[in-house]
Symmetry: D2
Subunit: 226 residues, 4 copies
């Protein structure tokens, strides 16, 4: 079962690391699959576009796209078409990641388009204000990630709990259907537990697992306290 | 044999058409493979990134990426990493297509990077001047495509032969190792023959074949006069 | 008196037309000043950045910037700094115009920065959903402009009144302090009156006045029914 | 006399520093004017767009734009129109600065357009290869600036003399009409002299002067050895 509605949800963003490219991406996905099955925690992966097809065929795990462009079928050489990542096996997509920020109207278009296509969507945001703005557009998830903490090893759930709590509270005031994730600096079981305790339904993370000496052990630790 | 050094060369850019996405991209690639084998003309395909892996595994044809970003391994969510498209099976990439223009320094970086990785590269350009500028950067191919003719059905080899001839002449004055292609409005055997007669080593085309009622017949006609 | 709080408000976006560049921009601003004084209707102008200083010094009219970049003092060659347009005489800025769409986080940053600097801000949007999202960020104005009508001569207040009404209603549900403007295709007194009747506090317009045979007459007609 | 053909040429890029914005930009321009008159060395300034008009009217110094967009008259809200900066008093423009890189086709368009309008142009580049590519497009100047040295205080003319010499040599092989400048880390008279000795016709600099405790003294030192 590959959808992303089960929570708590752990999204592993593969970014473009050597450790999560090509054959390495496949192996890492299998580790995620194994840990998810052993622990019952929902883990989904967001590999690079050229790796989506292979992982979705060879691994029993939900696959997200890291990004899609706000385009439809036509002459758009080099762009990422939502229908194409869907046919390759993606069940949803990240939108507006801090390393790939999007225009407001594009975020709106992609939320609508992925919803119409039956795909999930997670809008990444940088603070409480943009989280609330994004939530009015009816995404499935908003993932708040203070950019200064991304890749820092300092977990947002400890360094800036008020941002996480504020996001949860204000989003639920404005649109109860939107689920909140948080990210930036997350790597341990304590970090994830703190995120859940602050009212989120999961986390978005990357280097804390991908660059760990032993990603399987790191993943097992991550999900050990929920 | 999948490299792109054999000429005349026909590059079919799949863009993001419905007719060249996912399963349709696979079928179209098989048609290209069949026509290439029957006629001995070198045909390569440039599908969308999520389709590269599958086509390169299931079809005996050289596969190009439509675009790569000027990045290396690291934290670049949503970007297209050259190493990733290579591992997925791409033997080279288009650069600076008119629908995905790039910055000068990025074109330089990607030519160098693809060369280092043993991949081919084709820089698309819009006129004689930018073709010469691109040629100084030592790409394998420069593909000149006047943007006003792209998708027009009016072949550049007939509408603006002086641009094609001028590009061939000036590039060969400055860098003899660079091969010249042309594109825009190409669809028939006459168009391709005219391109070759003007001194190019092949063509880059898309809608003339992809949107044809019968792409196999259109491809057979395309390569019938060389 | 140069602020933009008085309504109904007419904002004339000079874009980059020949008729509104340099000396022409100065003349057009003087026409706006004259009509505003004669009729008592608040008219403000948004000229190109190099024309802001001269117009703000030589004409008694509130001047807006067409755009500012989400940057602070530092090394940002070629970017538009909010502090610089303020010192040149701008009392506020357009944000996210359809010809210069911005990223969500940039819109948030610029609203905060202009407010801190005591400047006004008008966020342009393309539909009801993005208007509501923008309104949560606490701008002074949201100006909804369906992009397909911009420059069309077909007034949004007649062609798509439900978008204007819906924007007014939903924004006032979520943030009563935000004033709503509309734009796209506006040129006559009937268009402006219809906009006001739909609940807006004014309009944003350009070619309907700038490219008119007699801009003064066109402006006088525009404000004749309110 | 305001043109930029006299060499050696010192271009002071004001960027968006507090010390070179608005009133400060005017004062700094007057310092440049004074030093230029006292020493006979040609100094030109590149202030922010909103400051071009005022400086060109109030100071006897050649003014450049930091950037222009590849657009013509029309509906381009927020863009920088070449005709507008010209009418405001700019005699030329920087193109492709490392903080505002441009697409290859845009560089070509802007070189042609500024030449047609009788304006000067200086294309900034990051290495020998892109310098040669830019030189084929017939700009007035190419200014090579290794990005890792910009703002570093380490002068390119000492840290990487081979890049400067190589650029001069290869550009003169390909297009003798193009003059070469260098930049990055330049601040002292020794730096400028070294740049001239390496075959350039001047320098492009910013923070070394603008952020100096005493910009006039720093400028006097800069031009003291040529």
């Amino acid at each position: 079962m590959k959808e992303i509605s089960q929570t708590p949800l752990v999204i592993l963003n593969f970014k473009t690391y050597l450790e999560s490219t090509g054959e390495n991406a496949l192996e890492l996905s299998k580790i995620c699959e194994k840990v998810a099955k052993e622990t019952g925690v929902k883990i989904v992966v967001a590999p690079q576009h050229p790796d989506i097809y292979r992982i979705s065929k060879e691994v029993d795990i939900a696959v997200l796209s890291q990004h899609v462009d706000a385009i439809d079928f036509g002459g758009h050489t080099g762009s990422i078409l939502t229908e194409c990542v869907k046919e390759a096996g993606a069940v949803g997509t990240l939108i507006n990641h801090s390393e790939r920020r999007m225009k407001l109207f594009e975020i709106d278009e992609i939320i609508k388009k992925t919803s119409t296509l039956g795909m999930g969507n997670i809008v990444c945001t940088n603070n409480i204000e943009t989280s609330v703005a994004a939530a009015t557009l009816n995404p499935d998830f908003v993932a708040v990630e203070p950019p200064e903490l991304i890749g820092s090893g300092i977990p947002v759930s400890k360094a800036e709990p008020e941002i996480v709590e504020g996001t949860v509270e204000l989003i639920h005031n404005i649109n109860q259907k939107v689920k909140v994730l948080c990210g930036a600096g997350i790597s341990t079981g304590d970090d994830l537990k703190a995120a859940i305790d602050l009212g989120t339904e999961g986390v978005l993370l990357a280097s804390g697992i991908i660059l760990a000496d032993d990603p399987e052990k790191a993943l097992l630790d991550l999900v050990s306290k929920i």
